[in-house]
Amino acid sequence: MAPTHRAPASDARPDTAGPAKAATATRAGRRPALGHPLLRHGLWALAALAAVALLTAATGPVTDLRVADVGLHLLAVAGLQLLVGTSGQVSLGHGAFMFVGAYTMALLVVNLPAVPLAAGMAAACAAGCLAGLAVGAATARLHGPYLAGATLMLAVGLPAVALRFPDLLGGANGLAFTAIGAPPALSGLVDDTQWRALVVWTVALIGLVVLATATRGRLGRHLRALRDDPTAAALSGIPVGRARVTAFVISAGAGSLAGACQAYVLGTATPSTYALTLSLVLLAALVLGGLGSLWGAFWAALAIVYVEVAGTELAHALELDTDVRNNLPVVFFGAVLIIIVLAWPRGVHGALSALGRHRSTPSQTGDS
């Protein structure tokens, strides 16, 4: 440690990215605990599920599909949030865990159609956790760009497994299947897409409750501590390596569940879905949404689904040359990313909460 003894000088750039330092003074300590955390989070989740049910009941299958898409991406990004925002490990390979989940789900449905959905989800989560354990253990000593590089290669390399075992995993074509839809008892009440959206949100919200509980409690504290200062964290009794791996495992489990949800909704698992782009988009959306808070993950999921839609609609709305029209959505997404990162370096959530603070205490500004 340098004998610096004030708040970290603005020019100190730790390369073990503590990406969210200033952004994430959580309120864990600020609010007196309102009952049991599980109860609190569970009530939130039920409210959210009810909202989703209302929304899907009021809209058509295309919106249902997008709602489901938001839900599963929310879960994936929330997992990434724990890894990147809380534990400070930058992963460019989160899509690989979605790959694991999607294929676990697909293999189960294809080979053992009788297995109940919940068991499929549990298996996918377990497979993801195992993958996370392996990856976390292999990369526990890496920091900053080295971890980023290794996980980037993971995102590219792992889906190739499907190409290596075409008989089992379907090669480049992947697997197509139809998982069980709405139970007959509910036919007439909910249609198939709506049912799937509800399943996704149920899974996602369970995942979020776990992630929220873990982040608010001792584990989250440990992860934030080792993000901010690994040496001091170790000296305070935190087994740094093990905590890092734990973060990887949990985040991979969430990513894997999200992948399983995606496979369940769309009935496909294909390597090209889990290409590098997916991993990069997840991370980009996380930063755009705001590091360090599950709300950030929510904005991220919205962005992943709807910026794309907006770009496509823009392209259709404008009378354009073919080449320009085709490429417009990509450019649009990139431009949104740049503008938001420049305008709100702490993401949508950071900007909104700063706004909120500004409103409530107009005299207090100036968080460096």
């Binding site: 290794a150 290669m153 993971l154 930063v287 990509v330 990139g334």
Partner: protein, 283 residues
């Protein structure tokens, strides 16, 4: 045995391309601690511009010069407009901004030139087991690495560059004009990236042509250690040769997997890359 030699030579030729892009990544990492995702896009724009200039003038080398100039310009502009404003944000922010830039530039190239492949010439005769074009690629990359090494180690400019990257404020207090130094580092790096683009573009150029090159360049840079230009070159050539063997002996679907396994192995043994110095004292 002859097959082995062929695979090795092919691997060296593609490895030179990875090495060139890895060099530009390393240089930018050294300068600003940013993993520049827009680097392949700079290379792409430069290569497409070179294509246009070559088509207009009929001279490959006019296109080549235009590419390097365009690369330098793009790099400097990005540093000024995207990276510098995010200096005090989280370290991830500039990385994500460059990712956004990658999307914008890649899409823009598609808008202007379309997504169909263009036929892109080699600088020199490409025929032969180790052709003049291959030799050009390898030689230019080695030369650039040598020059960069000398720049870092022996020149005040290199010292300023490193200082500006590590602790901008402390560097300013030693009289380093951090802004100018960083902009020129980005310009230089992106010119090297443009060189990589010119080497990687033949034979066919598409807006996504450099995606895989970029991935392997990152793997090369990381495996070699981000502190050292020779690490990038060694990493690039090693990755090129390795992938060539894997394709030749095991099957092309395994290349990415093999790269992953090798990278993890290297980093497990040397967490900061092969050419890194000892880890810094923490307390």
């Amino acid at each position: 045995m002859e097959h082995f030699a062929n695979l090795t030579l092919n691997g060296l030729a593609t490895g030179a391309v990875y090495a060139a892009l890895a060099l530009s990544l390393v240089l930018i990492y050294q300068a600003t601690r940013v993993l520049n995702f827009a680097q392949p896009a700079f290379a792409l724009v430069s290569a497409y511009l070179a294509y246009a200039v070559t088509a207009a003038t009929g001279s490959y080398w006019a296109g080549f010069a235009a590419a390097l100039a365009a690369g330098a310009l793009l790099g400097a502009a990005t540093e000024r407009l995207l990276v510098r404003p995010l200096r005090n944000a989280s370290p991830l922010s500039p990385i994500i901004a460059t990712l956004g830039l990658l999307m914008v530039l890649q899409g823009a190239v598609g808008m202007v030139w379309g997504n169909e492949p263009l036929s892109f010439a080699y600088p020199l005769d490409y025929r032969g087991r180790f052709s003049p074009a291959d030799a050009f690629a390898l030689a230019s990359v080695l030369l650039v690495a040598l020059a960069l090494f000398a720049l870092y180690r022996f020149t005040p400019a290199g010292l300023r560059m490193r200082a500006a990257a590590i602790r901008p404020e402390a560097a300013r207090l030693s009289g380093v004009r951090v802004g100018a130094v960083l902009a020129s580092a980005w310009a230089l790096a992106s010119a090297i990236g443009a060189l990589a683009g010119m080497l990687a573009a033949p034979p066919f150029l598409t807006p996504n042509a450099f995606d895989l090159v970029f991935v392997f360049a990152i793997a090369a840079a990381v495996a070699g250690g981000l502190e050292n230009p020779f690490g990038a070159v060694a990493g690039g050539l090693a990755v090129g040769v390795l992938l060539s063997y894997v394709t030749g002996y095991a099957g092309p679907e395994l290349t990415a997997l093999a790269a992953l396994v090798v990278l993890l192995t290297v980093l497990a043994l040397k967490p900061d890359g092969l050419f890194s110095r000892a880890a810094a004292r923490k307390v």
